[in-house]
Symmetry: D2
Subunit: 357 residues, 4 copies
Amino acid sequence: MWVRTGENKLIKAGIVGASGYVGGELLRLLVTHKDVEIKVASSKRHKGEKLARIHPDLYGFTDMKFTGESIFDVLDDLDVVFLALPHGTSIKYVPDLVETGVNVIDMSADFRLKDGSKYVRWYGYEHNYPDLLNKFVYGMPELHREELKNTKYIAVPGCIASSSIYSIAPFLNLDLDNNIINVDAKVGSSGSGSEMDESKVFSERYNSIRAYKPVQHRHTPEIEQELKFASGKDVKIALSAHSVNMVRGILTTSNIYAKTDEINAWQLMRQFYDKEKFVRLIMDKKSNFKYPDPKTVIGSNFVDLGFAIDRYINRVVSFGAIDNMIKGASGNAIQSMNIMYGFKENEGLTMPSLFPV
Amino acid sequence: MWVRTGENKLIKAGIVGASGYVGGELLRLLVTHKDVEIKVASSKRHKGEKLARIHPDLYGFTDMKFTGESIFDVLDDLDVVFLALPHGTSIKYVPDLVETGVNVIDMSADFRLKDGSKYVRWYGYEHNYPDLLNKFVYGMPELHREELKNTKYIAVPGCIASSSIYSIAPFLNLDLDNNIINVDAKVGSSGSGSEMDESKVFSERYNSIRAYKPVQHRHTPEIEQELKFASGKDVKIALSAHSVNMVRGILTTSNIYAKTDEINAWQLMRQFYDKEKFVRLIMDKKSNFKYPDPKTVIGSNFVDLGFAIDRYINRVVSFGAIDNMIKGASGNAIQSMNIMYGFKENEGLTMPSLFPV
Amino acid sequence: MWVRTGENKLIKAGIVGASGYVGGELLRLLVTHKDVEIKVASSKRHKGEKLARIHPDLYGFTDMKFTGESIFDVLDDLDVVFLALPHGTSIKYVPDLVETGVNVIDMSADFRLKDGSKYVRWYGYEHNYPDLLNKFVYGMPELHREELKNTKYIAVPGCIASSSIYSIAPFLNLDLDNNIINVDAKVGSSGSGSEMDESKVFSERYNSIRAYKPVQHRHTPEIEQELKFASGKDVKIALSAHSVNMVRGILTTSNIYAKTDEINAWQLMRQFYDKEKFVRLIMDKKSNFKYPDPKTVIGSNFVDLGFAIDRYINRVVSFGAIDNMIKGASGNAIQSMNIMYGFKENEGLTMPSLFPV
Amino acid sequence: MWVRTGENKLIKAGIVGASGYVGGELLRLLVTHKDVEIKVASSKRHKGEKLARIHPDLYGFTDMKFTGESIFDVLDDLDVVFLALPHGTSIKYVPDLVETGVNVIDMSADFRLKDGSKYVRWYGYEHNYPDLLNKFVYGMPELHREELKNTKYIAVPGCIASSSIYSIAPFLNLDLDNNIINVDAKVGSSGSGSEMDESKVFSERYNSIRAYKPVQHRHTPEIEQELKFASGKDVKIALSAHSVNMVRGILTTSNIYAKTDEINAWQLMRQFYDKEKFVRLIMDKKSNFKYPDPKTVIGSNFVDLGFAIDRYINRVVSFGAIDNMIKGASGNAIQSMNIMYGFKENEGLTMPSLFPV
């Protein structure tokens, strides 16, 4: 093992649900993080197996095995716990974890919404921890950096939600002709996890464009919440999500019905993301990549933003492109963690995208 | 050559612009058509070369070479001419062709719009043949079958236009909350032709989702025209087109803002496409393919339709999936030709899709 | 249903194991076959479900459901039974089926080898029906056409075996420097079936080149048997098989160590396949496809053959490209059936490949 | 620009031919390298354009533009020059560069072969610099680490050559039954560069397996040279190269005809690569990745090795998987440079592979 995981590290982390893709991506990014030592990676399904069997990128980095123990049995040692669990499962652990004083970074939706009543409608369960909802900070550094500095609890945004919020927020300063914003999301297969299912068999899935959640997508309320936070406006999100023929990456195409022009639109973008290091504005019409494209962010923590102005129908078509596993999940988690602990904000996240791939 | 092209055929056809993908698909479908003999295939770029060098599917079917002669030099022999030329080029040939009495099937947009004044806005040239615009029939059999029986001139619909019109038309019978209909199109690479261009190099294009025409797409006016024809309503189409990581296929996701329910929506669909042989309504929630997906139509002349009803925001999300080269171009051309000549409507088009591919 | 399955058909067929990819491809090809009516399609796993749920290409062609009954309960009505079952399972049905007098086309390996003793070594079971092994004809029309005319029993070749035999056989007329022939096979994912398995999940499989059977591949003895039949020579096949990033298609790259030149090699090829309608020799150095490539045969019943001559090491590198589901399985089955029944040999098989896809 | 390129760097580098994929990969890896400042990136084709237009991964890292000046005009400032030029072009620059005293890392084949006479046969030009051929060290750290410590000139191995040498070398300690070793290479599209060409258009290339150099591949003599160096044995390499349906990655499948068993084979491997940090031996039969697979190395500097033993024909089928752009080109260049300058050997190369992608 030539990359040590325990030398001179400042904090110790545990990952619950570490055998899924989100957990795997946390491991992949943390294994070379200067300040974090991975102490525990748990998985019910793969208890006792080497991490590298499931996440072959880890061969050569660690000999660790998945533990099946409860996180509570190994907690003494940990500074922070990442929960990479399904929606509705995190909530079973968090209240007790919070009691122990450990910091919690939750990758699920269970602590993203401030209004607990929305969990019944969108997630089908009652949320009985309004206090915790208030304590958790939505882990989007560009909107909540100051809060992140002063929290112990982070709710990491959803992948489609991230791309949508980043690309829509600046344009809500326009006079909207319609408060419904149409978002069409194209998502790589990693967004639907590593679990088996007949519809995921390669031969059934290759060359496919699958509308997997065309209406009532669960990221809707968090997008609406954060856009309200960013702009003060109540908008409704008409989201449709499609799974497309690739593994990583999201492109969201959002329609904001309002009148503007290119110059004004660029100003709105620039003002909003002034000095943000992980936001790139794409505007080179001579490039092969005239608009944001997942291809140019895969493997990096960047969100690429761009737009087109329609003069036929007054609308801004706004694009967001991210690596769904990084800026759409584990990258934002680590960036938020860096802020929470006062590490360098981009520590562990400075890799350029893997272009071309 | 085991498939003869000249025995007992009823009509003789020429294809102008036969080396592109649309021309190639016409050849691919006609080479086994019972009633049509291919007499001429012209290409400036590939004059004198064997068809099969450019379209390797034709090896074993024909030894023909691309002619570079003007179509007018070989016209005596032809019953019908297919023009597979760029927009703005067909119009240079059609008036003279019409004079000769030959039947014309134009794959370009030059004769799709009834209102000639729209060509300036959308295509950048003035259209001086209003009479011809009236004579050409929009080659969508499901909407214009009777007219097709009595014409000599067919304007074949655009690929994105086809998928959009098929999937939206039935729902315009609803009370619309908004006359703007948002259409998000995902198109395979064959939609952008076979010509070289740095952005098409495989390494630059693989794994990409490229917004290539996010606003003011040229198919907009023909969609609006045909939806008006089908429903009597004036709607505006807010279309964005993306090129995705596959070669064949289109999925359009359209948002019709109106209140309805599943049962009513199915009734609208069924009434509209009653007895249409090439329209399939997709509604099996236990299948791997719950909504229309290009994967299940590739290689066939089917258009697959389906939808989801959003109760959060009153909208129908309506899907259309086609093979852009077949039902989106050459298949509709041949189906329309079959009707024009009184052949069996599905002659040459009865192949199932190539599943899985 | 616009394509009827029962009118004026000459024979009635049943397919056992019809829900897998091989069974599905039989259905896809037979549903438009002029002379064959599909009477029964059985599947244990999908009993009672519509065929089109599992094989969505069949929507619009048939409303049939998978039967779960034993084939013996519906046999009275059938002229021919296709067995699309795993190796070792066909053999349990065939002896009884033969007793009933029905014709049998077996897609498995259970009746491919003439020397029954080889089943122990290569398939792990003892084969106790030497008489049946003699009665079954290896379903490769180019080698066994005359026998096929006079049999009731066909053993359809394996996919990799087909591509290997077609591309190697003509060159065994050379003086071999080495009787070991190295074959490297690249196979699309459909070759490994539709059953679930973690390693087949799209995210695990995309962009992968997976050596799934690098040594002792089971197609070895049938390749050796047929090459002996074709050339009289005993050669040994050193085969390695890889699953690659596509769904359909096989390319085999075979190394025959012998001295020759281009002209002689082409002569050998031409002599061997003189007048064969489904064999194409690829030799256009100005094409984008200079050597056989699965891309140009997908969807068709062609095998494309070509080669390169190495003067540094005396060897012929010989390529075979087929659609593994058609010429590598169901297409050869139907071509062989056509011969057995005296139908037109290419009935149901005249489609060009789907290029580009 | 949040990643500075000039602070506290130890050496200054220039890249000639920086707009191609190899040059781009050098930039991508060096832009975050602690000890190297990129001072010049030249490109004739893209002179004056921003690096990030051509290599969009560099957005946010550098505002540099391609210079079109001769490297000799900016040499004063440089410690090392990388030449990412075609074969036959580097040799025009190197003799003069060497005169200036600058260190040279050549990505082409022009200084890989020790025996200058081989350039006529394999590359078609006469090589008149035998002294330079002796001074250049073949940039494969696992074989030439000590020499690299004491050189100023590095010839970086070819991509297929690397994978072949790594996977074959340990097995040459066996008693060979045949001195011809058969190598079948499957290579991603990035291996053939970013230049336009009709055969590279996405629609022509997707789903393709293209034999692009089935005989007399130019990497042959360097493989033979290095295997001789490693084992003392003269072997002949029968190499065939195929371009497959992905962008990054190589798998080589090599056949070494010799008798051995698993245990002995593992020992040979382990002894050979004892303590090598970038070589991983793949041997987990319960993983989804039982043999080396490009999918698990993409984005990293690892070479994954594994094998299968054939007892039917005495052979070892040995696999090597690398990212052709990293361990197959720019990664080995940087690892070799690190050794040459005494930097940490893995500086800039510690990223895990991007799994899944």
